[in-house]
Amino acid sequence: MEMIHSEKLVYEYDKRDEEGNVIGTNRAIDGVDIDVAPGSFVAVLGHNGSGKSTLAKHMNAILVPTGGTIWVDGKDTKDPAELWNVRQTAGMVFQNPDNQIIGTVVEEDVGFGPENLGVPTDEIWKRVEDSLRSVGMLEYRKASPNKLSGGQKQRVAIAGVIAMEPKCIVLDEPTAMLDPNGRREVIQAVEKLREEKNVTVILITHYMEEVIDADQVFVMDDGHIVMHGTPREIFSRVDELKVYRMDVPQVTMLAEELRKRGLDLPRGILRREELVEALCRLR
């Protein structure tokens, strides 16, 4: 069974003028079909306003589709009886690290999710310790979240989701507000989680470098999924990506330019080592 499966997903909201009168409807998502296999790493790319965050919020039943259906682990998100099940199955990490930490102490924040699920006290402590360790934040368990860096806060937020033992984590631009160091910390934490816990990861982002290891990449534009494939397939279509106002990684860009000038390089080079290797092979 698919972890997340959607058919003709539509989300509309009313457009209002300054007095609050409805002057029309906007389609943030327009007929999206998406399939995510259990245990896979899926990235959704898109520039601002492409509908990628709206799509992410559907996976956690924060938003309910106005048309079509989305199933999370076989559960229809429109069914109110399944609401809490859906939210436990697909945990969500948001963009702003400050606005998603509820506790005044790191470990209490991580315990917040399990507390809501009604997990027994001893089990909560076990889960908190376990999930803090898996994001490398165990030594900060007694610290105040206000004293942490952005990357650390975001790792705490991830631990808070892991403690609920979800089958799937949706990360909605988790690195958008972080500096390069914080970004690296968060992405490494996510990778480690994938290895250790075998959770499905859905990463919403506009940083190309973060999606290189994904199994599948979806590119969204204006509420539609406009490109879909492995990172290599996607990044070999440099000109098409530019139409959707997306940048490709620098290495890919360089390789593409060299190829256009007549060098015999393969399409879709993602890493620096690959480019070096390909260039050496030319001689």
């Binding site: 809490w84 939210r87 702003n96 606005n99 506790g103 005044t104 102490v105």
Partner: protein
Amino acid sequence: MIRDITIGQYYPAESPIHRLDPRVKIVCTLLFLISLFIQNSLLGYVIATLFLGCVIHFSKVPVKYIAKGLKPIVILLLFTVVMNLLLTRGGETLVHFGIITITENGLRTSVFMAIRLIYLVAGSSIMTFTTTPNGLTDGLEKLLHPLNRLNVPVHEVAMIMSIALRFIPILLEETDKIMKAQMARGADFESGNIIQRAKAMIPILVPLFISAFRRANDLAMAMEARCYHGGEGRTKMKPLRYKGRDKMAYIFTLIYIVVIFMVGRFVPFKLWVF
């Protein structure tokens, strides 16, 4: 400068008082405050002083630190003392000078009122110094739990309190940032009379409120995403359970209350030395 404000100050230390259940501390503080008002004899104050002294000693909070907490009430204290001194009539007249008349009763009341006020603040600050804000909210939630039957949203109120505590430093930082941003554009917060200064605060308050609402919105979404659905069916990571020492503290306080009540009631003569 704005970060100097510390609300719900907590003095971190390892002491028997720190380890007590927050509920014990809340109830005992309340009892202590009541005890200050049910008696009015010198012996009573001696007993109250002994009790407070013991608690302060065990809490390992320096007396200096507590004295610093008294600063904000100095004006109130002076005002009360002066008023009581001048306006209370009765008993022997001690000083009579123009319109100023100080009587024996006046002196007595003002001294006792001052002691009461100081003990009131010292007693309650011992509670906040030795209990984390979260502990206080948890304790309050549990203590007020019976009010749930009267449809008082106890859990929600406690949750609101703890979230407010979490966001105080964040909003202070934000205020600092907005102030600097407005100052960079030429805003002046330091000159002018009170009304002008108050008006100058508007460009700070408006963006601050907008951002606070935005944060509230984000936070509510994050809480829902983590399955928050009110207090029902919720378990606690750190549940409050009474231990031996908590019972000891209750017994100790009860003995104190009984003694002080008896003194107020049955010691017939007022021990009065002046």
